[in-house]
């Protein structure tokens, strides 16, 4: 007889929380009523995490929407997430962009900062360094538009906090693979 193996369930091993990973999934779906509720309901019903979610129609003629979900869990749990998504009838394809590797991920954020005097100058200086655009300005405020990787946006927001951060609106991650092939 072989030696007994370690616990095998994705759930029992998830208890350790030691091997949590963050993955980005692209899900191509029929753009029909309720499809987003199906996807979101699947995550809440089965206790999976959603770190970020974006959705929009990407092919009007074919009524196709693309959902990008950033989720966290053990590798086994994330594999389950993919299979469970594939079970949904209106789902065409699910790709784990983190597994396929080398995907590009971008997020857009609008960041409102208020202040006067030296703070305004500092905010503009930092915005320039981050290539954030000013899309609204008043005597005592700016709204910056910033596109980039999640970490870059996080970093910019942290820098704005002491200067006079008022509020943030973020889109969540959109992602696409590199190279000539589709998902």
């Amino acid at each position: 007889m072989n030696a007994p193996s370690a616990p095998l369930s994705p759930y029992s091993s998830a208890l350790g929380k030691s091997n949590l990973e963050v993955h980005t999934l692209s899900v191509l779906v029929d753009n029909e009523p309720g499809v987003l509720a199906r996807v979101v309901g699947l995550f809440s019903g089965r206790g999976y995490n959603i770190e970020s979610l974006t959705v929009a129609e990407v092919a009007h003629g074919e009524h196709l929407s693309r959902i990008t979900i950033v989720t966290s869990g053990t590798p086994e749990a994330i594999e389950q997430v993919g299979h469970q998504l594939e079970r949904l009838v209106p789902v065409h394809r699910v790709t784990d962009l983190t597994l396929t590797g080398g995907a590009i991920e971008r997020e857009l954020a609008m960041i409102k900062v208020a202040g006067r005097g030296e703070d305004r100058v500092e905010a503009l200086r930092l915005a320039e360094a981050f290539r954030a655009r000013v899309i609204d300005a008043s005597i005592e405020s700016f709204v910056f538009e910033l596109t980039g990787a999640v970490a870059k946006i996080d970093q910019f927001i942290e820098l704005m906090r002491p200067i006079g951060l008022v509020e943030v609106s973020r889109t969540g991650v959109a992602a696409i693979s590199r190279g000539p092939k589709a998902m």
Partner: protein, 586 residues
């Protein structure tokens, strides 16, 4: 064939085109047009149930016993919400159902209209798929697509919610030809390389076991024939889940009995000690695996399933084969034959010797009695007296269900209908009605408990109205027996609300419904009473008064492994066997 008709007529036409012989339903305001269309034809028979939950379970019983799709028709609001338990049951046990619900007219949707509810929202989590049909143009496609989705891949329930104005609207009907789904295309054949690998693993195995489940039953009669062939070819032992009983005959030489929480000692020990497990259409449910980290620790595992999400869900396997059981089993047999494979006869023989020792423990044994009817004895006698007939068994949920699974022996698939995944009390009577409709000449028996049967007792009226002579065989111990058993084992014998007080007189109740009532409390008269039940042309309620405190054994206690079973002859305090961690489990 394009024909103009109303939405309501399309529904009935689609049922005819899909070969639906009967459906179960309950009328109401939002489905009146469909009921009107049903009235004007006689090809599709409508069975009027007494509660919509009954319609869902009856459709399940019909589907499970016939291999066809079960259909139910209910109105909006409460009609729809009353089906939720049945739909969830069908989802858990992979039963193909079509549930047509009426909805308030489209212009009233979202206004909190009378008998309005968000049916697609509510049923999204308890169906395989659902549709709200907002326009008559979509209706024919949706109707046929729903049948496709319900039956293909892993089967399941599909809801079609049809607003009343769509039922009245006129449009062009399109038949079921060329229905191919845009996205839903399940994989049927196993990957050839993986089949080769599986066969190679089987040929090398020294302590193999087949672990089969409801997927074989769902795949069709041919899958059962093929598993029998493969078992005969290899000489491997075979066990089955609750849902898979009958795929391999209980009289077959390689049969180990059911496995799992109330499975046999030999089946569970074979699972624990095997070196190769071949799971076919089974899903490693917690009632099967027991303690996960001690589940069959030394084995390599092959898992065949049509649902990719079943593979590696609870238990990580070494080889996952996605496909329909029928196709995959046929592929395996072909490769086994083509390669001239032989099982490792020497090792297999010593494996069987080991199994023989486990069998000798006779884990299903119980202490017989001359004075009181033991529930196991009642099931045994029922089996002996009905085994030469075409008998279909349904159950409710609880101790009686497990005793039925242990002591009624199934020779063929589709003859055993029970609520496995959801564990729905109240399933058995309506399911028996569905099975009797699918098999008018057969003997259909609902093995019940006195608690469960009261949950859908109203369906007796349905049985009487349609002359469906179903037999309700109540193992009446005046306790919610499984609850009582767990309270004995886990909660210091504090029997909180598990005693069945104020029970009706079941014999008089049967008579009140226009059925036949029988009561028996004496083991000496049991055979005679059972024969009376079988001979009755009417529906029967058989009130079998059994030992009140009998426990259902053997049992794998919560949180324990397959080789830590409680056996009937265990003398130790069984409450002490379960640790605090186990008590947390259900």
């Amino acid at each position: 064939m394009v024909k103009e008709m109303t939405g309501a007529e399309m529904v009935v036409q689609a049922l005819k085109d899909q070969g639906v012989g009967c459906l179960f339903g309950y009328p109401g305001g939002a489905v009146l047009p469909i009921y009107d269309a049903l009235f004007q034809q006689d090809q599709v028979q409508h069975i009027l149930v007494r509660h919509e939950q009954g319609a869902a379970h009856a459709a399940e019983g019909y589907a499970r016993s016939s291999g066809k799709v079960g259909v139910l028709l209910v109105t909006s609001g409460p009609g729809a919400t009353n089906t939720i338990t049945g739909l969830t049951d069908a989802l858990m046990d992979s039963i193909p159902l079509i549930c047509i619900t009426g909805q308030v007219p489209t212009h009233l949707i979202g206004s909190d209209a009378f008998q309005e509810c968000d049916t697609v929202g509510i049923t999204r989590h308890c169906t395989k798929h659902n549709y709200l049909v907002r326009s008559i143009e979509d209706l024919p496609r949706v109707l046929h697509e729903a049948f496709y989705v319900a039956q293909n891949g892993r089967p399941g329930p599909v809801v079609i919610d049809i607003p009343k104005d769509v039922q009245f609207a006129t449009g062009a009907y399109i038949g079921p030809q060329h229905i191919e789904h845009r996205t839903y295309k399940p994989q049927l054949f196993g990957d050839a390389a993986k089949i080769e690998q599986a066969v190679a693993m089987m040929a090398m195995a020294r302590r193999p076991v087949f672990y089969t489940g409801g997927g074989i039953i769902n795949s069709g009669v041919e899958a059962s024939r093929l598993i029998r062939e493969l078992v005969a070819l290899t000489g491997f032992p075979i066990t089955s889940t609750l849902m898979g009983l009958g795929a391999y005959p209980a009289s077959g030489p390689n049969w180990l009995g059911m496995l799992g929480m109330h499975g046999t000692y030999e089946a569970n020990n074979a699972m624990h000690d095997c070196d190769l497990m071949i799971a076919v259409g089974a899903r490693f449910d917690d009632r099967i695996t027991g303690r996960l980290d001690a589940f069959s620790p030394g084995s390599r595992k092959i898992h065949i399933d049509i649902d990719p999400s079943s593979i590696n869900k609870n238990v990580k396997v070494d080889l996952g084969i996605i496909g329909d059981c029928t196709h995959v089993l046929r592929q395996m047999i072909e490769v086994w034959r083509h390669r001239g494979c032989k099982a490792d006869a020497g090792h297999l023989e010593s494996w069987w010797r080991e199994i023989g020792v486990w069998r000798e423990r006779k884990s299903l044994a119980f202490k017989p009695s001359d004075t009181v009817i033991k529930p196991q004895y009642a099931v045994q006698r029922l089996f002996e007296l009905t085994k030469n007939r075409d008998t279909y068994i349904t159950t409710e949920v609880g101790q009686h269900q497990m005793w039925a699974a242990q002591h009624f022996h199934f020779e063929d698939p589709h003859h055993w209908m029970t609520s496995g995944g959801l564990g729905t009390m109240g399933y058995g009577l309506p399911a028996a009605i569905g099975a009797q409709l699918a098999h008018p000449e057969a003997l259909v028996v609902d093995i019940a408990g006195e608690g469960s049967i009261l949950m859908n007792m109203q369906e007796m009226s349905t049985a009487v109205q349609y002359d469906l002579p179903v037999k309700i065989f109540i193992l009446n111990n005046e306790y919610l027996g499984m609850v009582r058993q767990w309270q004995e084992l886990l909660h210091g014998g504090r029997y909180s609300h598990s005693y069945s007080e104020a029970l009706p007189d079941f014999v008089k109740l049967a008579e009140a419904y226009g059925a036949h009532g029988i009561r028996c409390s004496d083991p000496a008269h049991l055979d005679e009473a059972i024969n009376e039940m079988i001979q009755s042309p009417k529906p029967v309620i058989f009130d079998c008064l059994v030992d009140k405190t009998e426990n259902c054994l053997p049992m794998i206690p919560s949180g324990k492994a397959h080789n830590e079973m409680i056996l009937p002859d265990t003398d130790e305090d069984i409450g002490a066997v379960i640790d605090s961690k186990g008590k947390m489990l259900v």
